[in-house]
Every structure is written in structure tokens, then in C-alpha cells.
């Protein structure tokens, strides 16, 4: 079962409903744009969390998959004139290829090699996009992509729907025996091996799943911006995604979605601070991570859920509640 409580389902519906209604209540292309970007970041954050949040193997180069997905979309759409819808499966496939390229040699090792290989993979790809500028358009990137869906609102709903579907799939996986094994890998790899679990297989498979969805998100982003540039591979993108996951609540899958949307909206709301924006943003982040080291979104929801259940049941279920706190 994906959702453990009726309250979870209610909250998920309320959240998706709010996200869907917002652009209808405040119809502006600016808001739709912000929400679209936040939903794409949600896809990236949730896909990062599935691999790294559950197994504890930090991936410092998620932008590698994003950039590969986006450039695949760019090349296919402009050089080969392919239908934009081909970009999604192709972007996923290429991201998976890169995941195997980095994951197969490094995920069998202990130590920081995987994190470093992902980081350098993203940096190398960014440089390569500049070095082979004749083919990649260099700093300018590739321009003139066709949109996936002409209507901006329609595209937003498509991205939102994809985000919901991906989150549901990853949540179901995370709460299955698969997810239990991934969390056990985080706990102790040697014990996993002693229990007969092929640790390397599970790590690589989860990276492949993570990469596929990040690549799809990259392709969507390309067809949203109608342009791709080497900036997509930037390390700062990966760091932003990790920050979103931390704010959302690492390893909770649904939390990072909230974290991503929250931080994208926060960035926009802080525009009025002008040049102080980054300062305020950083201070807010530091405060959140300092006072809430397990994150903001998921822990807050767990507490609220506990409160609501207590209200509903009278205060008769402290035991069930305590158990839920640990869940």
C-alpha cells in the first residue's frame, strides 16, 4: 500500500488539488511558469531521494542525468527533427546509460568513489559541451526546441501529473521489500551481504531508476525552456536538489517533493529583496537545517498527522501515536 493512512491520502489530494487550482485562481503566465519549474524540481528531488536518500550513497552529480536528458531532447528535436514526445523515453534511456557508466564501476566500491565520480561526471560533461561547441552550440547551447504541449497551462498539468505518478511509483517501491533492502544497505552493507543480499545490484538498480526519472525531468525542462545550455550540468543544480531533499526530509520520498516546491516558491517570493535575496535565502536555509536537521516538510507532516489523529480519537491512542512517530 502506497499510503499508510487515510490522512496521508487526504493530504496528498489536498496538495495536488491546490497545485492544480492555483493557476486557475491567479491566472498569470508568471505563476504557471514558477509552478512548472517547481514541479520539475520536484521530479529531480524525488528521484535523487529514491537512490541516495534510501541507500545513503550521496550522489553529488544529479545534474549529469538532468543535462544528459535535456541535451538528448535538444539533439533529437532540432538536429533530427524528431517529434518532441520522443524526447522523454530517449532522455530516460540516455540517463540510464550514463547511470550504468558511472554506477557499474563505482557502486561496487566502498568509500567516496561513487559521490566523486558523479560530481566529476557532471563537471566533465559540462566542459565537453563547451569543447565540442561546433556540435553542441557551446555556451549558447541548443535553441529552438518545439514545446511538448502548446498551451502553457496544459504543459504545467502534464508536468504536475508526471510528478504525481513518479512520486507514487517511488513511494510504492520505497515501502515495498525493495525499499526495505535499500534502507538496510544504508544501515550496514556487510550485514546485508551476510543476509544474502546482492548489495551492488540493488544500488545500481536504484541509481538506474533514479537516473531515468531525472532524465525525463531534464527532457521536460528542455521542452519548457525550449533551449538547453551547459548550465544544466552545473554542480550548483545538484547541490540545490540535495538541499531540497534535506529540507523535505531525506528518505521520505514525498518530503523532497514538498521541499523542492517550497524552495522554488521561496526563491520567487524573495525577489523583492533584490540583491539581498541570496543572503535571506541562505540564512533561511541555514536556520531550517540547524533547527530541523531531519528536515521540514516530512517531520512537520508526521507531527500534524499525529495531532489530527489524536483529535479524532480523543486522546486514547498514545501508543499507536508513538509507533507512528517512528514510522
Amino acid at each position: 500500500m502506497i499510503l499508510r493512512h487515510r490522512l496521508d491520502l487526504a493530504a496528498a489530494c489536498a496538495f495536488v488539488g491546490a497545485m492544480a487550482i492555483l493557476p486557475l485562481v491567479f491566472p498569470s503566465n508568471y505563476l504557471i511558469g514558477v509552478l512548472t519549474v517547481s514541479a520539475i524540481y520536484g521530479i529531480w528531488a524525488v528521484s535523487w531521494d529514491f537512490m541516495s536518500g534510501l541507500t545513503g550513497r550521496e550522489n553529488f552529480g544529479h545534474s549529469l542525468f538532468i543535462g544528459v536528458g535535456a541535451y538528448t531532447a535538444g539533439f533529437l528535436n532540432t538536429s533530427f527533427g524528431a517529434n518532441p514526445w520522443w524526447s522523454l523515453p530517449a532522455g530516460m534511456l540516455m540517463a540510464v546509460l550514463f547511470a550504468l557508466l558511472v554506477g557499474l564501476p563505482t557502486l561496487r566500491l566502498k568509500g567516496p568513489y561513487f559521490a566523486l565520480a558523479m560530481l566529476s561526471g557532471a563537471v566533465i560533461m559540462q566542459r565537453l559541451m563547451l569543447i565540442f561547441w561546433e556540435h553542441t552550440g557551446g555556451e549558447e547551447g541548443i535553441n529552438g526546441l518545439a514545446p511538448l504541449i502548446k498551451s502553457q497551462l496544459g504543459f504545467y498539468y502534464f508536468v504536475l501529473g508526471t510528478l504525481v505518478a513518479i512520486t507514487a511509483v517511488l513511494l510504492a517501491l520505497a515501502r515495498s521489500h525493495w525499499g526495505l533492502i535499500l534502507r538496510a544497505i544504508r544501515g550496514d552493507e556487510a550485514t546485508c551481504q551476510a543476509a544474502g543480499i546482492n548489495v551492488t545490484f540493488y544500488k545500481i538498480a536504484s541509481l538506474v531508476i533514479s537516473a531515468a526519472f531525472a532524465g525525463a525531468g531534464g527532457a521536460m525542462y528542455a521542452h519548457y525552456q525550449l533551449q538547453v545550455s551547459p548550465q544544466l550540468f552545473a554542480v550548483v543544480t545538484s547541490i540545490t536538489i540535495i538541499t531540497m531533499v534535506y529540507v523535505g526530509g531525506m528518505g521520505t520520498i514525498y518530503g523532497p517533493v514538498g521541499g523542492a516546491i517550497l524552495l522554488v516558491l521561496l526563491t520567487e517570493l524573495l525577489r523583492r529583496f533584490g540583491e539581498w535575496r541570496l543572503m535571506v535565502y541562505s540564512c533561511a536555509l541555514i536556520l531550517i537545517l540547524f533547527f530541523l536537521p531531519t528536515g521540514l516538510v516530512a517531520p512537520l507532516w508526521k507531527r500534524l498527522r499525529g495531532f489530527l489523529r489524536r483529535r479524532r480519537a480523543g486522546t486514547l491512542v498514545p501508543v499507536a501515536d508513538a509507533m507512528e512517530q517512528q514510522a
Partner: protein
């Protein structure tokens, strides 16, 4: 009938250190065998070699039920039926007690679709951790972590259970409980158990046969009664100040 575990010519060098020297043994089904030896005798190295965590020097033979397991990765060996515990408890931190046991059963996949949670609860009951299923494993006491390790190892339904110093760090009451548990598992399921120990007291009443190691080599083998009178064993133990009181007590 072939022996459950047949080991021959097992050697391991760590650089210049000959950690295990020409080790050989056969273990029959249903036996409880103790591996005795002072610290640094090569006991844990032996386990790591048997379970595939480190590769032995060339020329070794390790066969489970007549089938060579040499060169297989640890998870393959585990799923063939060798479960082990670790000297320092290594639970899956961040998981609950019950989840720890369930993960132990997932690797072997002997019973696809079976209710792993029910079996996990039953195992926890047997090791005396009933009622603590939903507790995060990190808050368990050391003795409880040891019980959990054994429940986790049993969850895989092993044919051979390797326990690495299961009594280390336990009080005498906990030791008696744990011995009773090992005896019970052995009696009920006919499970073959090998355990490592450098303490003699609990060990002696538990095992049927002892293999004594020192400096990586077998120095004696026999019944517990014979082992404690064996001159080589006495020398290995009395020769070490720290171990002397233990050995004297057991003898």
C-alpha cells in the same frame, strides 16, 4: 553422505602475517562445533574466508554439501545457506527491530510470498524480543542486539550458522539465556552451529567438539573435556597473562 562443510588447505596471508595456516576441518550436519583460540588466533579471519568476505590464498577447498563455494561473493554464499553474525553487532541502523529480521529473510528468498512479518515476529519471540518489534534498533541494549543478530541470521533459514563471539560483552545471566537459545535452535531445527569463543565456561557446556587455534594454526581438536586437558591448549592460554584466569577456571 558428504559432510555439510568440508574445508581443506585453507590459508590466508595478510602481507607477511600468516593469519590462517593450513586450516582443515569437516563439519557434519547437526553438530555444534566450537572454534577456540586466544585473541588474534585467526578465528574471525576463518569466518571471513568461509563466508566469502575475503578471498583465501590459492589452493584452498571449501565445500558446502559437496559444492565448492570458493570464489563466490558473500551474498551468494549466504543464499546457499551459510548465515553469520558479526563479532561487533552490526544491525541495520535506522530500521526497526522487526524490519531487521525481515531483511534477514529477504536475501535468501527461500519462501517467496510467505508472510515474512509473521515469521519475523515469531523469531523475535523465540529470542526473547517480543513486544519490541517497532522499536528502532539503535536503542537496543548490547545483549538485545546480540539476540537480534541471531534472529536475523535465523530468518534466512540457514543450513549452517556461524556465530562470531556471541557471548562477548554479555553478563552471566544473558550468557545463560543465549546458550539456552542456541541449544533450543539446535534441538528444534537440527541446525548446524559453529561458534567462535575465547571464553571457555559457557562454551564448554554447549559444544560437542572443539577446534583450538593459535597463531592461525590448529593446535588441538576434540571433545571439550579433552581440549581443556590438552597440553598445547593449556600452553597457548597460560602463556598469556590476560587469558590465564579464564583458562585456569575452565580447567
Amino acid at each position: 553422505m558428504t559432510a555439510l562443510l568440508a574445508v581443506a588447505n585453507l590459508n590466508k596471508h595478510f602481507g607477511g602475517l600468516h593469519a590462517l595456516r593450513d586450516f582443515a576441518c569437516t563439519i557434519q550436519r547437526g553438530e555444534i562445533v566450537g572454534i577456540l583460540g586466544p585473541n588474534g588466533a585467526g578465528k574471525t579471519t576463518l569466518y571471513n574466508l568461509l563466508t566469502g568476505f575475503i578471498p583465501p590464498d590459492p589452493g584452498a577447498r571449501v565445500a558446502l554439501d559437496g559444492r565448492s563455494v570458493l570464489g563466490l561473493p558473500p551474498h551468494r554464499i549466504a543464499s546457499l545457506g551459510i548465515s553469520r553474525t558479526f563479532q561487533l553487532c552490526r544491525p541495520f541502523t535506522g530500521l526497526t527491530v522487526l524490519e531487521n529480521v525481515v531483511v534477514g529473510a529477504l536475501g535468501a528468498q527461500r519462501e517467496r510470498g510467505a508472510d515474512l512479518h509473521a515469521r519475523g515476529r515469531e523469531l523475535l519471540q523465540r529470542v526473547g524480543l517480543a513486544g519490541r518489534e517497532q522499536v528502532p534498533v539503535d536503542v537496543l541494549s548490547y545483549g538485545d542486539q546480540r539476540r537480534l543478530e541471531i534472529a536475523r541470521a535465523l530468518a534466512a533459514r540457514p543450513r549452517l550458522l556461524l556465530l562470531d563471539e556471541p557471548f562477548a560483552g554479555l553478563g552471566s545471566g544473558e550468557m545463560a539465556d543465549l546458550s539456552a537459545l542456541i541449544r533450543q535452535v539446535h534441538a528444534q531445527e537440527g541446525l548446524t552451529v559453529v561458534l567462535i569463543e575465547h571464553k571457555l565456561r559457557e562454551f564448554m557446556s554447549l559444544v560437542q567438539r572443539v577446534i583450538a587455534l593459535d597463531f592461525g594454526a590448529i593446535i588441538a581438536e576434540g571433545t571439550p573435556e579433552a581440549i581443556v586437558r590438552d597440553p598445547a591448549v593449556i600452553e597457548a592460554y597460560i602463556g598469556r597473562d590476560a587469558e590465564a584466569p579464564e583458562a585456569a577456571h575452565a580447567a
